[in-house]
């Protein structure tokens, strides 16, 4: 039967409905600020929105979007190759390229389309891709479409990457290496200095997804490559406007002039409508703001450290280092669902992550921190976890 393969998911949905939990369908009924909303009828602190710099509710970005809608209308009603390329799109491409100190940029309608499109197009049949095993679904989707030979290396393991580059022999010089800056589920930062050194030794090209690290890392917020001092080794940087920039859309920037030819070979760019003018305008304003307000990044990391240390001191199983993404590792699905529901009832909205969205077989409660969170809000989040721990719902790390 056509629908048989969906039965396990239908059963899972029925289980959630029976337990009156809606982790994947929780509706935000009202947004009160960048960090507060009404979810499932309750006022909550938003701690799972990837709104790292708190710009989704910035009045300047909202005003820019309003003005653009007034001037350009609500949508482009077409693709960039047809009628959807407005002066605003080209301006954003120039500005995102300049932000990275590069000459070439493509703006996509979503971050997923940017990453998937580049991964699907750069390498093709006869080429080889080496990708981190914990890559985002957009990368897996893209490389699958590429027709290239796909080889995974162990997550953030330079030795394994080097071994696999060595095994490629002469083909290593043309290989496409794919990694991410901050990994979205656990918040860990890729060992980019080591990866760049391997690329320098064996050759190849490096595509880096800075979706969760743009705005959060680097002296000017360019991301993990800037923080690691290896930007010159990155051939293609992809990212999103839907996290630190608070809107929606994606981009690819590169020093390679060939990006202009590649642009016209990317299905995810050609065959979809371009971003609406209001989205482009708010993104441009947000990009300007993060260039002028580095204190937002400082505040983000103060909050990230506060939450990380707070959860760690509770004895919870968090990652090895602080990050804007703080994931609490859980034991099983049932317990994770119960805790997610209890946190919501305590006024804290986080992300429930279960396989295959999580790496390996992890069950996670994923928190994302914002520069807009107050210290009191971070403490409230920690207190909500402490309440769960005290009831015995949360697993305590053996290291504590």
């Amino acid at each position: 039967m056509l629908f048989d393969k969906f039965q396990a998911m239908a059963d899972f949905q029925a289980e959630l409905a029976q337990r009156q939990v809606t982790p994947f369908g929780a509706v935000t009924e009202k947004i009160l600020s960048a960090t507060e909303g009404i979810v499932e009828g309750r006022p909550v602190i938003l701690a799972g929105t990837n709104n790292y710099l708190g710009l989704s509710y910035d009045p300047r970005c909202i005003k820019a979007a309003q003005d653009a809608a007034q001037q350009w209308g609500t949508g482009t009603t077409g693709s960039r190759l047809a009628n959807g390329s407005f002066a605003e799109h080209q301006a954003l491409e120039s500005e995102i390229a300049a932000f990275y100190g590069l000459d070439h940029a493509i703006v996509f309608s979503t971050g997923y389309a940017a990453t998937m499109g580049m991964c699907a197009t750069l390498a093709g049949p006869g080429d080889v891709i080496l990708m981190d095993a914990d890559s985002h679904a957009s990368i897996y989707s893209g490389v699958k479409q590429s027709g290239a030979e796909i080889i995974r290396f162990k997550h953030s393991n330079p030795e394994d990457l080097a071994k696999r580059m060595r095994r490629l022999g002469d083909r290593a010089g043309q290989a496409l290496i794919i990694a991410e800056g901050i990994y979205s589920m656990l918040g860990d930062v890729a060992p980019l200095q080591e990866i760049a050194a391997i690329k320098r030794e064996y050759g190849g090209y490096l595509l880096l997804d800075e979706a969760h690290s743009m705005g959060a890392l680097g002296d000017t917020g360019r991301g993990a490559a800037q923080a690691a001092g290896v930007e010159a080794d990155v051939d293609f940087t992809v990212g999103t406007f839907s996290k630190s920039l608070g809107s929606i859309g994606g981009f690819c920037v590169s020093r390679h002039a060939e990006l202009e030819a590649i642009r016209f070979c990317i299905s995810a760019y050609i065959f979809t409508a371009s971003s609406s003018p209001s989205i482009i305008a708010s993104t441009r304003e947000a990009l300007r703001i993060i260039g002028q307000e580095p204190e937002r990044r400082t505040r983000l990391w103060e909050n990230a450290n506060r939450l990380y240390q707070g959860l760690k001191s509770l004895g919870l199983a968090v990652g090895p280092t602080a990050s804007p993404v703080v994931a609490v590792e859980m034991v099983d699905r049932s317990q994770t669902i119960d805790c997610w529901k209890a946190l919501l009832e305590a006024g804290v909205y986080v992300n429930l992550v279960i396989p295959p969205a999580s790496p390996s077989t992890n069950f996670l409660l994923r928190n994302s921190v914002s520069a807009a969170h107050s210290s009191e809000q971070i403490d409230t989040i920690i207190a909500a976890y402490a309440g769960l721990r005290d009831t015995g719902l949360l697993p305590v790390s053996q290291d504590s």
Binding site: A133, E149, I151, R152, L168, T361
Partner: protein, 80 residues
């Protein structure tokens, strides 16, 4: 050059530690349907094979592999 049987022998021996049901392993044994390997266990098994033969097994070939024998043929091709 290693022949098919030698690949098969190694692939069977490398699987023993993951053969929790203790079923007889031969070229017709299915990795998932018979042994019940999870996707993570399949990747651990693949890694053992890669390191033994010093090769990388592309993800692309895995959808065509169900049995130990099918995998042995693929590994033999990759190691030529």
């Amino acid at each position: 050059m290693t022949d098919y049987q030698e690949y098969l022998d190694f692939l069977c021996s490398a699987l023993e530690s993951q053969n929790k049901k203790n079923i007889p392993l031969n070229e017709n044994t299915a990795l998932v349907a018979d042994i019940g390997l999870s996707s993570l266990e399949v990747m651990e098994y693949i890694e053992k094979i890669e390191d033994h033969f010093d090769i990388s097994i592309p993800l692309n070939i895995l959808p065509d592999v169900n049995t130990i024998g099918e995998l042995a043929h693929k590994v033999k091709e990759l190691n030529l």
